[in-house]
Symmetry: C2
Subunit: 218 residues, 2 copies
């Protein structure tokens, strides 16, 4: 469940607006309208206006929003000022890359630790965050009230890991395994599927390159 | 443009089917039906049947597909047996994490090098792949016929980088910057927006936790 009335699509667009506003830097106008933002991002202005109405009530007709206020309001709405603690299950290549990626802190995400069944990975060097065995998962999550779990295990283990996370009090799951997870109604799952993105890119390429060959032959 | 008649959604689902089939391992049946795959992944069986028709013509009524053949056919369709070379622009935290992530090789993606305007990052240690200055981008891409460009620069530079990639012969762009990129019609852009995913997860959490507080107070 999300903020009443707000759609996933609106939530997904808010970081785009924020990113655009912050990119203005020294050219930042004191006031900015939904129309100006829509034009810059090639989006529908009615949509932008509706989206911004969820995060700010300070917009004024013909004047727009005070730009700095709007930035603060979006950041506050997205929870960038508070920190959500998270854990990762699966300390393979992707799990380690995400665990050590410092950029999430800007978005209020703090990854505390990773968990793995592979004893060889537990407490390996190369990271200042602990990698712990799976049998410590529940106590860790319950004790520290962890609400976000990130799944980076191979597909065939993802559902079991998901069940373990739900059983440990996690409410939001960020799933990097290319599988559909079954969860209770009160849990949200956000799928991040790089293989799917690559499938789209690669198919486009093959198509384009075969078009070229046809042109050459013909 | 994609394979004629195939949708982005179908392409995005194919890696899920492949992942599921491979996960069967020693329990893998000799034959598998679209219905069995649909049931396992909680998808619509008509949709699965249509999707698989793009990659295989070997399915037989009441018998299904020879499982090993279907795996090979999907892998071949997705181009996992061939390698697409790619470059990354933006050698910050995310760029470096992606550059050094070995998992992409399974999907036929080979990242050859990264480019950055920041001279301090050029040819730094910690990676066996080169980080080169931006003024080498065009020659590198043209010389090696690079068709995939990955953008991991801050939002405000993403459009300029995108234009430079298009000007260097790149046909497919994987964009990790939270901005809408303007490209010619023959270029495909796939957006990967982690900030958007986190916005959805975080909002769900805040909502859930405030529900709890209301319950406690009431």
């Amino acid at each position: 469940m999300l903020t009443p009335g707000i759609s996933k699509q609106t939530l997904r667009r808010l970081p785009f607006y924020l990113s655009y506003l912050k990119s203005l830097r020294k050219d930042m106008p004191d006031f900015i309208s939904a129309t100006a933002i829509a034009d810059a991002l090639k989006l529908n202005q009615v949509q932008v206006r509706k989206d911004l109405a969820f995060v700010s009530s300070s917009g004024r007709p013909k004047v727009g929003y005070r730009t700095q206020d709007l930035i603060s309001e979006i950041e506050s709405f997205l929870g960038y000022n508070e920190t959500d603690n998270a854990i990762i299950v699966g300390a393979g290549r992707l799990g380690k890359a995400l665990m050590n990626y410092e950029g999430f802190k800007e978005y209020g995400l703090n990854i505390l630790a990773a968990f793995d069944t592979n004893a060889d990975l537990v407490n390996t060097e190369g990271s200042d965050k602990p990698i712990m065995p799976m049998n410590k998962l529940r106590d860790f999550c319950v004790g520290l009230k962890i609400r976000i779990g990130i799944i980076t295990v191979p597909s065939e283990y993802a559902q079991d890991v998901c069940d373990a996370l739900v059983g440990s009090g996690v409410l939001a799951i960020w799933n990097f395994a290319p599988v559909h997870l079954r969860v209770p109604e009160y849990i949200i799952v956000q799928n991040e599927n790089m293989a799917s993105s690559l499938a789209v890119l690669s198919n486009h390429l093959n198509q384009k390159l075969s078009d070229k060959n046809i042109l050459k032959v013909g």
